[in-house]
Amino acid sequence: MFQLNVRGLSCQRAENILFSGISFALEGGAWLHVKGRNGAGKSTLLRTLAGLVRPASGVVTFSGRLGPAVRRVLCGHQAAVKRELSAEENLRVGIPGDSPASAAQVQAALTKVGLGKAASVPARYLSEGQKRRLVLARLLLQCADLWLLDEPVNGLDSDGVELLGLFLREHLANGGAAVVTSHQPLPVAVGKSLAL
């Protein structure tokens, strides 16, 4: 059973401590809702879990069945989309290293998020909301174990949020875990929560 445990985590930004003594455990199938005021370090916590930021102190370990590296994915404030590439190309080659998806899988993911018709439209012509949906489609294709979502609701309209809830529930159902920061409530069963 996949498990993420964090013990005594503390992070710094430019010499001042953001948070310290954060400890929690998260198994497959559960999600953690991180709350806190602006500047409390929610994003830094997610980036630390993603392996981008080196914590000032504390330990982040992944145990369980997941082979050498836990496949984690981070959705930050920016929708990581290349303007020159079309929606479909963004999913196929936009991020080198994603698990290679066939054209059919890409098309299926696009239709699932309601961008089926916009597959060949260069991403520069997509609205901010559509770009957010493209990020959701990528989430499906990456089939990662740990989702690290930073304010995923931003930029999504009401049925976009519904989609997010649906995907999150599916992800948790087949054993994935998620750490989510969000001000608005999410249409998912209330999981653990952590206040920074």
Binding site: Q12, R13, A14, E15, N16, R54
Partner: protein, 242 residues
């Protein structure tokens, strides 16, 4: 190992540096006086260059120190990067301006030496040219860490640059030497210093020690400033400042 780590925290190092500095400043001054006395008073005049050669008593120590300080700086930067100890990166940043100053002094005294001896302020000699490039490496290092706000990124990014620079220093020196012998032949070169009488060697040796003591004193003073600037909000700093 623990003994050594004891002083690795800025809090304990700050007073230690304060106590060491006066001793170093005094010994630097005494050594400099002794070195100059030997160099200017006692050392005999040189066969070909007469009295003008005495500039080497400041030129050679300056260029030697500029090279030595760069390697020490790269060492501390590497230690700071690997062990993630902030103090080592601060020490590297404290050494950089002094190293750049020595490189500049070496170029200036090299020109002042070249003018009477070879009639030109600037000679594209292998040593002077690589000294110039060493100065550019220093300026690159200083420019990088001073244009990054976040101290931890500044430390680590400048450490990478210092290490890359340190690897390149021998390559640059070799390529410039190859280039200068290719174009101009080895006739005119500062490297072939005049035949060294014993007192000359003593004079230069003592001047190197004087510059060395001075460099450490200044580095300690600057590292204290950096500690104060970066740890201004820390508790202990409030009582460390008289």
């Amino acid at each position: 190992m623990n003994r050594w780590l004891h002083f690795a925290s800025p809090q304990r190092f700050y007073p230690l540096a304060g106590r060491l500095m006066p001793w170093l400043v005094v010994s630097a001054a005494l050594l400099a006086l002794a070195g100059l006395a030997i160099g200017l008073l006692i050392a005999p005049s040189d066969a070909q260059q007469g009295e003008g050669y005495r500039i080497i008593f400041v030129h050679v120590p300056a260029s030697w120190m500029s090279m030595f300080i760069y390697l020490v700086m790269a060492f501390w930067a590497g230690v700071g990067l690997v062990l993630n100890t902030r103090l080592s990166s601060m020490m590297a940043q404290a050494l950089a301006p002094t190293g750049a100053m020595f490189a500049l002094l070496s170029l200036l005294t090299g020109a002042l030496w070249g003018k009477p001896m070879w009639g030109a302020w600037w000679v594209w000699d292998a040593r002077l040219t690589s000294e110039l490039i060493l100065l550019f490496l220093y300026l690159g290092f200083i420019a990088l860490y001073s244009s990054i706000e976040d101290p931890s990124r500044a430390d680590r990014a400048s450490a990478v640059l210092a290490l890359v620079g340190a690897v390149n220093v021998p390559i640059i020196y070799f390529s410039v030497k190859w280039w200068s012998t290719l174009h101009q032949g080895a006739s005119v070169s500062l490297t072939r210093s005049p035949s060294m009488a014993v007192t000359m060697l003593w004079g230069m040796g003592i001047m190197v020690l004087a510059f060395w003591a001075y460099a450490i004193a200044v580095a300690l003073a600057r590292v204290r400033c950096i500690i104060l600037e970066r740890e201004a909000r820390a508790e202990w700093v409030k009582y460390a400042v008289e």
